[in-house]
Amino acid sequence: MPRSIRGRLPRAGVWLALAATMAVGACGTKETGTKAPTHPTITYWSSWRVGEPQQKIFADGIAAYEKATGVTVNVRWLGRDYGTSVKDAGAVGKGPDIFDDTSDHISDFRSHGLVLDVGSMMDMTIPNDNVKLGSVLPTAVQKASSDAGGLGLIPFTLGSSGIWFDAATHPEWAADPPATFDDLLATAEKIKAAGGVPFAQDGSVDGYNAYWIYWLLVRHGGPGTLAALGKSPAGWDNPAVLAAAQDDERLVKAGLFEPDYMATKYPAAQNQWAQRKEAMNINGTWLNSETAPDQVSGFQAQMFQFPTVPGGSDSAEVGTEGWSINPKSPNVADDEQFLLFMMQKQYMTRISTEALNMSPRSDVPAPPMLAAAQKAILAATSVQPTDDNASNLYSGWWNDVFLPLDNQLFAGKITAEQFVSMGKSQTASYK
């Protein structure tokens, strides 16, 4: 009796353990169906959550497409953490056919084998509008949506950054914003002299502090100046780098931010700006949507372009958000037709009017608060991605060398000269 128990129980335990282990191993991302087409099914994983304006617009487009074609679009509204799900599912061959992507993450998704070159779609016709996709997407937008592997996404939104203000209290900036960096500093000094605080800054967000040096670098040296700093120590020898750092230092030394600006708990400073405690805030195109609940009555958020510097570049920043197609999708032709359907003017107009974002289509006006950014992008002779793409190309260096060093400059702890010499030596020793 004891022997038989001894003989059987542990074996049962072993099988139980093995079953449990295999069950744990099987816990992955569920396949949502990329079945062989009789009625084709397209799977789409989205970064939007149910209830957000973009989700409503896309859901309407999907419903109309399904009705018009009989194709089923199996959509999952995953929210902002969708990227990991896409990569993990893609790794085991169960990724979606289409997923949301951003221009600064194309290379990352592409390294996982998840990005198809969609350049050929530029010659395809958008249904109902009867225009070629390439004819309504400006070259700058197409370029921003590409990496070395080609066009990585079909954009549904443009992003940029600049200096936000309240057009109700400063209507003069809407018509005639400070043209040069010196003008901006002079304007800020005037506000300070009158007892106001010119700039709100969430200094605990290093990426927001870096907006200043990034813009000054591309203004002084043109697109690529910041990215060159991460590429090799020689990038720091460019005289434009010191000039940009000196302008940054002037800004900091002038004391134009709210008290203890390096110690704010995000989003305290931008919300204070929305309550008119400060006049300006350097930020991304999303700031209006983010601060809308905190804006005082009558507040009219608007953004002007980062001012130029004498003899410098007037490039525009373009980042894009859009749809990427998985090369392993069994229905690439259907995926392309679906995206062309979604690019119709009726949906892209709603990106502007309902989501209050810039549409990528040149024939759709941006919402009023972003009109200046759209104008700059459409007129730009040269463009750069957000952060000059340095955060994407050299992310370790960006996090561990550049941002910490910029924080020191921006907190007034080091001089422009120290910034350049420390940057050069730290880049040399960073592996």
């Binding site: 353990a17 282990t21 790794a91 955060s391 592996k431």
Partner: protein, 302 residues
């Protein structure tokens, strides 16, 4: 005789094998195998599932040693373990001296434990409310005429000190609970005898409480080290997720998180993250072994 004893013992030993096997298999699949895989990936350059891992020898470890940011994060972790630990256990001992004879001590003990069960998200929100430049703390200091003491508490210079204070505030109740349960088991007559012999409270602590709780202290100290080396969420609660935590506030676990995610915008470096994990494990192991040796003593039987 010897042969038959050996036979019985051998039979008894073999009985354990099948009973042990399920646990061993589960442990192997869930702990040993992932640990081995992690160690392997620490010698590679790898961006995650779906990408190829390229063997690059000790490059991740060498990069870590030459990366001043990681060294700062490592130093911060050590400071947190040592300085934070000193505060936690000093406060715990103080509480043991004061609370042993206090009325309502179980209520106080519960109150001290409360921070331990608060969610880091709630703490993060409270931090913004309290420590912002125009937050409650600076407001109160100004109102009582101590304007000169107002600070940018969450700025790069002070944030790590604030984080240590918060960790001490959160953790102390936990160790008080562990140690006090041991103190409660000490017979009262020992203290009565000590009092009759003229021992004051400190002497009672030194000669009775401390020796009789030493084994609990050893366990508590090990738990502290393991927890402190992994310090992560409280840093994020203080700094938020909109940007990367400032270097002054980063712990080794935060550096690992930045390597896993690539930071706010960037590509993941899972090979580096694995190497950081291995170093954190080694640090924990070294500290735990050192602590066990330092606090080694025979448990006093009552």
């Amino acid at each position: 005789m010897a042969r038959s004893v050996g036979g019985v013992r051998g039979e008894r030993d073999r009985i354990y094998v099948p009973y042990l096997l399920p646990a061993l298999l589960i442990y192997t699949f869930l702990f040993i195998a992932p640990a081995a895989v992690t160690i392997w990936y620490s010698f590679t350059k790898w961006q995650g599932l779906g990408t190829t891992a390229h063997y690059n020898g000790l490059a991740n470890y060498r990069a870590m040693l030459s990366n001043s940011v990681f060294l700062t994060a490592f130093r911060n972790t050590l400071i947190l373990v040592v300085v934070g630990g000193a505060f936690v256990f000093a406060l715990t001992f103080l509480t043991m001296v004061v609370m042993r004879e206090m009325r309502g001590r179980s209520f106080v003990r519960s109150m001290l434990f409360v921070p331990c069960i608060l969610s880091p998200i709630a703490i993060g929100t409270a931090v913004g409310f309290l420590l912002n430049p125009d937050g409650a703390l600076n407001q109160v200091l100004s109102d009582v005429g101590l304007h000169s003491l107002t600070r940018g508490w969450l700025g790069p210079d002070l944030i790590f000190k604030c984080i240590i204070a918060a960790v001490v505030w959160i953790s102390t109740g936990f160790y008080v609970a562990i140690m006090m349960s041991r103190v409660d088991a000490i017979p009262e007559d020992l203290y009565e005898t000590a009092r009759l012999a003229g021992a004051n409270r400190l002497e009672q602590f030194r000669y009775i409480t401390f020796p009789l709780t030493r084994d609990a202290l050893s366990t508590g100290a090990v738990l502290w080290v393991i927890g402190a080396v992994k310090t992560f969420e409280i840093v994020i609660a203080f700094t938020g997720t909109a940007g990367n935590p400032p270097i002054q506030a980063r712990s080794a676990a935060v550096e690992q998180y930045l390597a896993v995610t690539g930071g706010v915008s960037g590509t993941p470096e899972l090979g580096s993250a694995a190497a950081i994990g291995v170093v954190m494990f080694l640090l924990t192991a070294v500290l735990v072994v050192a602590l066990r040796r330092l606090l080694r003593s025979e448990a006093v039987e009552l």
